[in-house]
Amino acid sequence: MSLQQETVLINGHIIDSLLLAKVLDIILMMGGTFDLKDVRIGKTREEPSSARIVVQAGSKTLLEDILKAIQPHGASIEREADCHIEDSPADGIFPDDFYATTHLPTQIRLHGRWVDVERIEMDLGILVDEQTSVARAIPMGAVRRGEHIVVGRDGVRVNPLQRPRKRDVFGFMESHVSAERPHGHIIADVAARMRHLRDQHRQGQTDSRVLLAGGPAIIHAGGREALAWLIEEGFVHVLFCGNALAAHDMEADLYGTSLGYGLTAGRAVPHGHEHHLRTINRIRAIGSIEQAVTAGVVKQGIMAACVRQRVSVIMAGTIRDDGPLPDVITDSIRAQTAMRAAIPGVGLALLVASTLHSIATGNLLPATVPTVCVDVNPSVPTKLADRGSFQAVGLVMDAASFLSELARLLGRPA
């Protein structure tokens, strides 16, 4: 989905001669786009003007055709330099002037050739293996002394996202957060994507996994059955959550309550507040969620569905956790690493009813992954966008309504 691009320079009396306008028109007429950078206009008639133009096109061939067409008008390709590389001074420490990544498709120039940076993610460094010409994004904590890290900005280019050909809600690739917007068509677009991705996943195609990061509000709000159904039907392939979602999901199965509230009766049951602790204790005694499901102790719900459908579940702990359940990773950086490892192959991300997990997941996702953030609190999708995940479509609504409608559109019987 990334655009091909090249930077050209043009200088001289380019304004009054309409030369700049002509070059920009040619780019557009040929089906390209441009970003006008560093335009310097001469202060007097005699003084020349100059402009740097980033020319973008959907394919390499089109880009070359455009460059060929504008070259006679004086727009010449900017001379480019290789990226600069320095050794990491110690384990877990980047060189001082390390290049900090964005989550957009990124390339570095190595020995005169542009190389894609693999596993791109925001706020990391770029590790380079010069021998194999391979570059990948690397977290600060993971770097080892002496490893080669890109420094400065020379020889690094960030490619904008190409608008997908599919004209759905993700086509705009920008956050709009509003409680007033109708939700129907957004959920319908998400459903259409999920149906398509499930087909692709079954055919073993790449980037076809659907990731759901969710909070316990899914259970409290009544979205448990819908989500369990989506998982059982093969629509979700990766689950990121914390101790609470899993605990309340299994509490519901064992006790019919969520944080002590009767899910069907809708009121607190006597000693209900103990249920989630007893659930956690029970699973701890069994040893793992998988064993609890396999042994038939936990029969229904989200975690049971995940075990049955072999969904990759990453549970990240927090300082307020009870227990926690076995399999909850309590070391935040280890949890982050495990989540990061589950990202490749994800073609759609649903971030539902969790500020913590939504933002953590948003940080790990490349901008090329279509993302939906669903929360009753508008500040969650807003915060996600503010932290750089501009591609996330914000949906201000309750998790249960979202999941129920999504499941209904995907064929769940009423």
């Binding site: 200088n11 001289g12 009396h13 009054d16 001669s17 002509k22 008639r45 020349p48 006679p72 004086g74």
Partner: protein, 266 residues
């Protein structure tokens, strides 16, 4: 007193085809060409009173006669042309030699920076125009602009018959412009209109443009132009110019006329 650089047509002829006008089959009547060239010189010297500097013609360089393409002269500085076609690149050394012999400060652009002299760079005292795409490379103009501290408006030549700017664009001494608008694209026409008000733009009809009516030499109130361009003459008369039509059709076989045969030295 104006001075023009000229070169006698001793070895003029069509020996190759590098513009749509040139046809190897279209033989030049050499005797007539010589007569027409002398006719032009007579008008220059006797009717207008300019001084002529004559270069020595060279065997094997048939287009050396078109001195407008020697380069450009600004004060005592001469920028020597860098021809696009190898056929004319052989002229460069001779033009350069002439400028050096006459004690000009000689500027030689990079070999790859095609620039065909006063054929593609014309203008008014404060603003110059540069023709590009057919022969000169647009990148030559920022270089010249910086060198001479002049604004140079590049104009794309979109009709191959008008392959040099001086075939379709002729600034006049009173600030008027004689030109053929369809030789330029929309952007070029707008750029010209931005610099030269409508009442100063004299638009030549196509039939006369194809006789190279715009390939004229203007010295003060005198304009020398190819014969057979009555409408152009009327346009010039209306602005108070005295016209001097000269038959030059033997040179048109090579795609050149009055202006191409001269280079203004000061």
């Amino acid at each position: 007193m104006s001075r023009l650089l000229v070169c006698p047509p001793d070895f003029f002829g069509i020996e190759y085809e590098i513009n749509p006008w040139m046809r190897l089959s279209n033989r030049v009547d050499h005797e007539l060409a010589v007569k027409q060239w002398h006719g032009l010189m007579r008008v220059c010297e006797h009717e207008i009173g300019v001084t002529l500097e004559r270069m020595t013609p060279m065997v094997g360089l048939p287009d050396l006669v078109f001195t407008a393409n020697a380069g450009i002269v600004v004060g005592r500085t001469a920028v020597v042309s860098r021809f696009r076609y190898p056929e004319r690149q052989r002229e460069e050394a001779h033009f350069e030699g002439w400028f050096r012999d006459h004690e000009y400060e000689v500027v030689t652009p990079d070999k790859e920076l095609y620039f065909e002299g006063a054929g593609d760079l014309l203008g008014f005292p404060d603003c110059w125009f540069g023709g590009y795409r057919q022969r000169s490379d647009i990148r030559a103009f920022p270089f010249l602009s910086e060198r001479f501290h002049r604004e140079i408006i590049p104009l794309e030549l979109v009709d191959t018959r008008f392959y040099h700017l001086d075939t379709c664009f002729c600034p006049l001494s009173g600030g008027e412009l004689l030109y053929f608008p369809p030789a330029f694209d929309y952007y070029g026409q707008i750029a010209i209109a931005e610099r030269i008000p409508a009442d100063l733009r004299l638009s030549v009809p196509e039939d006369e443009a194809l006789k190279f009516a715009c390939n004229a030499v203007c010295v003060e109130q005198h304009v020398i132009l190819p014969s057979g361009c009555p409408t152009t003459q009327r346009l010039l008369h209306a602005k108070g110019y005295r016209t001097h039509p000269v038959p030059l059709d033997e040179f048109m076989k090579s795609g050149g006329s009055a202006k191409c045969l001269t280079l203004a030295l000061d």
